[in-house]
Symmetry: C2
Amino acid sequence: MSIQTRRERERAERERLIVTAARELAEAEGWDAVTTRRLAAEIEYSQPVLYSHFKGKDAIMAAVAVQGFGDIAAELRAARTAAGGAREALAAVGEAYTAFARRRPALYDAMFTHTVDLPFATPEAPAALREAFGELLEAVRPIAADGDDPGLLTETYWAGLHGLVTLMRSGRLPAKAHERRLALLIGHFTAGAS
Amino acid sequence: MSIQTRRERERAERERLIVTAARELAEAEGWDAVTTRRLAAEIEYSQPVLYSHFKGKDAIMAAVAVQGFGDIAAELRAARTAAGGAREALAAVGEAYTAFARRRPALYDAMFTHTVDLPFATPEAPAALREAFGELLEAVRPIAADGDDPGLLTETYWAGLHGLVTLMRSGRLPAKAHERRLALLIGHFTAGAS
DNA sequence: AAAGAAAGGCTAGCGGTGCTAGAATTCGGA
DNA sequence: TCCGAATTCTAGCACCGCTAGCCTTTCTTT
């Protein structure tokens, strides 16, 4: 049994190596630079090894995305719990979200832009993903008006944040006034709340 | 001179043919199906002909996008002018925008998702693009509070709409509750307006 | 009308992509 | 020590965007 477990351990380690290499390469040079050949060279194995771990390149990106959900969940939680009132918490979470997107664009793309076959708004979604959404939800819930579904309101707020960062990163919105736009979004969502 | 003008006319016609073929192919089978070989076959010329009209595939997509801006501008204007009050106009424009995105996803991607080197928030932006944004602006302006920059508010509203449609189309938001999310977004933007 | 010049489109090919079949190698167990 | 099984690699497929250079067609000039 010991040999078997060692093999499995080494295999898991190599899988982590692949995901880490993909993430670092993407963050350093963008996803276009992450080719299967390049990635194979990076981990010092041949290309087909990648396919014994993942179904294809998209699956590798999905694994990177899951890592990212863990990261952003932690950052959102830190921002939320450090804030004073409900208004401040919503603003802090919004700022943390857009800051994450701007600081780690490649990771953000894997998580929210690239087509990926991860289950999202279902119970089968990865734990890290549900946790990240949960942080948004906890920040939105206190400012939800009576009769508003907090989940739907969170999705709408999330869409606003997502739209801001994607339009800005593609050059369709000038980065200059980002803070003011974000303030407008937050202001309209907190209008009439305590 | 007549020969020269005939040549130019034929050349312009062929250019239109390329853009139309690209748009139709993209709308029928998605942008992945739009390869230079496929496109060349569609217009019954060889590949290099494409490059005598456009710098590359991205430039063809940009040309398709510009067509799309004209389309959406017309639809937004129709929705806005048909609406009664300011609130209704904002809602109508929002609904028209998301309906356009859902009805013509490939076109929407070329316009708002795909990386493209069109100038956006500058005076050099294509006329159709500025017109489309202008329609949004005219719908938002009446509900802007004193002290709010209408342009920035429009950009923020636009980001909300864009976030909703992109997250929904990538499967990250369930399509089911789209109308309710849209209503929430519109409601928060019209809060406190006439 | 014939010859030269210019313009335009085509064939063929380059270097790259994601992915895979099948050979070669390594390694544990008898 | 040898065999069988698991694993890794080499080599290659079909496709991508793009381009060099030949060849045909068309216009201009003598």
